[in-house]
C-alpha cells in the first residue's frame, strides 16, 4: 500500500507546474527511481472433469482468446529408423483434417473467421494452439479439440508433408549456419535420440498407420495441460471446456517409453565441412546441465557474463574490441527433461577463423580460472532480477509459463523464489559452476567454410573429421 501511495505522489508531482528543481536533468549513471514492487500475476488452476489441468487468466483488453495445449510427447519418441515421425504427426494433425472436417473445409472455415489453430511437436513437448476473436470462440474450440484429439491424417496430406520434408532435407546444406547448427547438436548428443535428425530413408519409410498409432499413444486427455487467457467469461468457458473434453474415462494407464539421459561427457573433436564462402561459421560446445542441478542460478549468472549479453566477455572482446564478428556469444540451454547443452558461436571472415576460435576458447577457459569481478556479478544479477517482469508481460505468456512449469515438474515456488535465488549467487558460486560445466578441452567444434583461406590449418585445432555434404536424395 505504501508503494501505491508513493507512486501516486510521483504521478501527481508530474502534473504540477514545472519548478526549477524539476527542470534538473538526471545523470543516467546515478539516476534514482520511484519504487516499483512487482508481483508475478497469478493464474488460476482448475481441473476439468476429465482430469486435465487448466490454467486460466482473464484479460479483456482485447476481444481475443488464446489457448495452448501442452502435450507430453516429443521427437525423442521417434522409433528407430523413423526419425521425422513425431514432426510429421505434429504438422499433419492440423493440415490433414480432423473430426471428419476435410483439410480444405477446415482451412476455409478457420481463415474466414480469422481464427488460427496450429500444432507442432518439438524435442520434448507437443503444442496445439488456438487464437480467435471472442465471437468465434465456440466454433474454433471445436476445431481445436478435433485437431488435438481426433485428427484424420488424410493420406494425401501425409504425402505432401513427406515431400515437403524431403525437399527440406535436400536443402539442408544450402546455408552454412544451418549446417553448423545441425551438426553441433548431432555431435553433442551423439548416441542419444536428441542427436538424431531425420533422413531421406527415415522420412520415406513412415507409414500412415504409424502416425495414427503415435498420435493415439500420446494425445489423450490425461496427458495434456491447457493454458487459457483473454476475453472469456469464466463460468461459460469452463462449461464449454468440460463439454468439449467430456468426463473422465477409464482407460489403460498411460505408459511412456523410458528415454535415458544423454551422456554428460564427450571427447573433443573438430568437425569440418567445406563451403566456398568468405566467412566461417563456428559452433563449439558440449552437454550442459538440467534444471534440477543445484548450480542452475549460478549458471544463469555465468551465462550472462560469459556470452549472454552485449557486454559479455565474448562480445566485448571478439566483436567490440577486435571487430572479428557481428554475432558472437554463448548459451547454456537449460535441460528440462534431458541434460541441456552449452554452445558458443560466431561467424568470422575465413582469414581470422583460427584466431577467433583460440580467443573464444581462451575466454571460456578463463571463466574456470578466476572469479568474476564484482561489477560483472552485480551487472548480471541486476539485469536478471530487474528484467524478470518481462517474462509475464501479457496474459498468454503468464498462463503458458505456469503450464510449462507444471509440465516440466518445476517446484511450485520456482518463480516466486527465482529472483532471490539469483540475488544470492556469489562470485565463488559462478567459479564453481564454471569449473563443473565448462570444459573447453572437450569441445565438439564445428567449422563450416573454406579452410584453404583460414589463417592456420584446421588440424592445428585438434583431430579433424571432415563432413561430406553431398546428399544422396533421388530426384
Amino acid at each position: 500500500m505504501r508503494f501505491l501511495i508513493l507512486i501516486l505522489c510521483f504521478l501527481l508531482a508530474g502534473l504540477a507546474p514545472v519548478s526549477a528543481a524539476e527542470k534538473a536533468l538526471a545523470n543516467p549513471r546515478n539516476i534514482t527511481f520511484p519504487p516499483l514492487a512487482y508481483q508475478i500475476p497469478k493464474a488460476e488452476r482448475i481441473m476439468l472433469e476429465c482430469g486435465m489441468p487448466v490454467y486460466l487468466l482473464r484479460d479483456s483488453e482485447l476481444p481475443i482468446i488464446n489457448i495452448s495445449a501442452l502435450v507430453r510427447v516429443g521427437t525423442v519418441y521417434d522409433p528407430a529408423g523413423r526419425s521425422g515421425l513425431a514432426g510429421m504427426v505434429g504438422s499433419v494433425m492440423r493440415s490433414g483434417g480432423a473430426g471428419g472436417l476435410s483439410p480444405e473445409k477446415m482451412d476455409d472455415e478457420l481463415e474466414f473467421m480469422a481464427s488460427s489453430v496450429e500444432s507442432s511437436i518439438g524435442s520434448d513437448m507437443g503444442t496445439v494452439s488456438l487464437t480467435t476473436l471472442t465471437k468465434n470462440f465456440s466454433r474454433t474450440l471445436k476445431i481445436f479439440s478435433d485437431v488435438l484429439l481426433r485428427p484424420d491424417f488424410s493420406a494425401a496430406r501425409i504425402e505432401i508433408a513427406r515431400k515437403q520434408s524431403i525437399e527440406g532435407l535436400r536443402r539442408q546444406n544450402d546455408d552454412p549456419k544451418e549446417i553448423a547448427g545441425r551438426e553441433i547438436g548431432k555431435a553433442i548428443y551423439a548416441g542419444h535420440p536428441l542427436g538424431v535428425v531425420p533422413s531421406y530413408a527415415s522420412v520415406s519409410a513412415i507409414q500412415r498407420q504409424e502416425l495414427l498409432d503415435f498420435h493415439g499413444r500420446f494425445f489423450r486427455t490425461d496427458n495434456i495441460i491447457l493454458a487459457v487467457s483473454g476475453d472469456f467469461n469464466r463460468e461459460v468457458l469452463l462449461k464449454e471446456l468440460n463439454a468439449t473434453f467430456g468426463p473422465a474415462r477409464k482407460v489403460e494407464a498411460l505408459r511412456l517409453p523410458e528415454i535415458p539421459q544423454p551422456a554428460r561427457n564427450v571427447t573433443a573433436e573438430v568437425i569440418y565441412a567445406k563451403k566456398d564462402v568468405n566467412q566461417t561459421v563456428i559452433r563449439m560446445g558440449h552437454p550442459g546441465l538440467s534444471k534440477d542441478d543445484p548450480e542452475l542460478y549460478a549458471v544463469r549468472v555465468l551465462d550472462y557474463i560469459l556470452g549472454g549479453s552485449f557486454t559479455s566477455r565474448l562480445t566485448t572482446e571478439i566483436r567490440t574490441n577486435q571487430g572479428l564478428a557481428y554475432n558472437v556469444g554463448s548459451h547454456f540451454d537449460i535441460g528440462r527433461r534431458f541434460t541441456g547443452s552449452f554452445v558458443a558461436e560466431t561467424e568470422t571472415k575465413a582469414e581470422s577463423t583460427v584466431k577467433a576460435i583460440k580467443l573464444m576458447s581462451g575466454i571460456i577457459a578463463g571463466m574456470t580460472k578466476e572469479p568474476v569481478s564484482d561489477s560483472e556479478l552485480n551487472a548480471a544479477r541486476e539485469y536478471i532480477v530487474n528484467s524478470f517482469m518481462f517474462g509475464f508481460a501479457n496474459p498468454a505468456s503468464i498462463v503458458t509459463q505456469r503450464a510449462r512449469l507444471e509440465y516440466y515438474g518445476y517446484a511450485a515456488d520456482y518463480l516466486e523464489r527465482y529472483r532471490d535465488n539469483i540475488a544470492k549467487v556469489s562470485a565463488a558460486d559462478v567459479l564453481n559452476a564454471a569449473r563443473k560445466y565448462l570444459h573447453p578441452d572437450a569441445f565438439k567444434m564445428v567449422l563450416v567454410g573454406n579452410a584453404e583461406k583460414f589463417d592456420a590449418p584446421v588440424a592445428s585445432l585438434g583431430s579433424v573429421r571432415e563432413l561430406d555434404l553431398k546428399l544422396d536424395i533421388p530426384k
Binding site: 482485447l62 525437399e167 568468405n278 566467412q279 566485448t316 566483436r319 557481428y326
Partner: protein, 494 residues
Amino acid sequence: MKRIVMAVMLMMLSVSGLQAATLEEKVVEHTMKNGMKLLLVERHTSPTVSAWIRFRVGSVDEKSDERGIAHLLEHMLFKGTTTIGTKDYASEKPLLVQIEQTGQQLIAEKAKRDKADAVQLDTLQKKLTALESEASKFVIKDEFFELYSKNGGTGYNAFTSRDGTTYLISLPANKLELWAAIEADRLQNAVLREFYSERSVVMEERRRSYDADPDSKLWETFLASSFLAHPYGQPTIGWMSDIEGLTRTKAEQFFHNYYAPNNAIVAIVGDIDTAATIKLVERYFGDMKPGKTLAPVTAEEPKQAGERRIELVAEAEPTIVMGFHKPAIATADDYVFDVITMILGSGRTSRFHKKMVIEKQLATDVGVFDAPGSRYPNLFLVSATPRTPHTVSEVEASILAELELLKTQPVTERDLQRILNKMEYEEARRMGTNGGLARNLTEYEAVTGSWRYMTEQRGKIAKVTPADIQRVARDYFTRENRTVGFITKKGGDK
C-alpha cells in the same frame, strides 16, 4: 482507500468487458515546439513500457559516396556521448582526431588498389591499431547497454531500413526517465568512438547476412537490378567497397544533417501516465533546436520497358523471386495491392498455396509481400521454393498463370470478406504488446504521415472492388514491368 481502488477496478473491468477501446481512442498525440512528435498509449496490463524513436532517415537518403552510412551510424550511436562511455573525454578527444586522420589516410592509400604502397599500408594499419588501443584506455565499453541492462531494460536495439532508423528499448515502467536521459544525451552529444573497429563488425555482418547466404545474396542482387535510378536498389548495409570507404567524418555529417527533433517520432506504450510522460519528454527534449527539414529523394525510377532476368549460380538448391513495380504505400492502387497480396499469399486458403503447394505440389512454399521500402514506389513480390523435380520455369509459369487469372476472373465476395475479417482480427491483435504497438505507430507515422493509417486501412480496403483488382492486375502484371531472379545450382543439371 483500498476499497475505493477495488471499486474503480471492478468498474473498469465491467466497462472494458462490454467494449474494448479502439486504437483511435487510445493514442494520444503531442507535437513539441521543435517538431518532435510523440505518440502515447496507456496500457496497464503489466508494469512495463516500450519506447521507440524513429528518425525519418534511412539508406534511401544516402548519396552515392555514403552508401551504408545510415546503418553504420546506427551502430555508432551505441558508443556513448561526451560523458557516457568515456572515463575522460578531454583526454580521449585528441586521440579520436588522430585516429580519424590515420583512418582516412589508410582509406586513400587502399583506394589506389594495385598501385597502393604496401609498406605505407602496413605502417598506417599499425599506427591505426596503436592509436585505437591507446584510445580504448578511456572507453567504458557499451555503457548505454550496461545502464539500461542493470535497470532491467530488455530488447535494447536499433534497426535501419531503406525508409528509416529506429532505436528501441523496453523498461520497467518506473524507469522511463532513464530512457529520456540517455536518449536526449545521445541525440545531442553522441561521440562516434571505436569507429573503425565497428566498421569491421559491419563488414562481418555483411558477410554473414548476404555474402555467405545464397538466398540473401540473390535478394540483394535482385533488388539492385530492379532499380536503375532510385536508391531503393542500394543495399542498406552497403556494398563491401562502400563500407570500406566510410569514415567517421561522413557518419558525423550524416548525424548532424538528419538527427534532429523535427525528424523524430517517439512512441511510448505501456504502464504510463500520459500527462506526466509528456512533461518528462518535454523536459529532456524540449530545448533542442529543430534541424533542417528533410528533402525527399528526387530520383524517379524510369518506367521499366522489358523483362529483366537475374541469375545467381550458387552452392544451393534453386529458388525464385518475381517482382513488379508498383506505387508507394497509401496510394489508391496500393490498397488494391493489399487485397491482391492477401488473396494470393495469405494463409492456407491463399491461391498460391492451394494451387502450387497443395494441388500441383510444385513448391514447398510461396510468399507474397512488398519491398524494399514503402515511402517511395516499390515492388510487389512473389518468392517461391521449387520442389524437386519441379523446376524454376515450372514454378514461374504457375505464378504467372495465377496473376493472369486475376485479370480475367473477378474475385468473389467471400474472398473479400475473408480479408476484412482477417484485418478486423489483426487490428485487435496488434494492440496486444507494447513493443508491437510502438513499432506500428512509429512506422506508419513515418511512412504514411499518420499512424491513423492503421485505423483507416480496413475502410479503404473495404471499398476495393473486383473490377479494381482486375484493372490493377492488367496494369501492373505485365512482362515489361517484371523482374525475375533465380538461383541455379552450381554444377547442377541445366
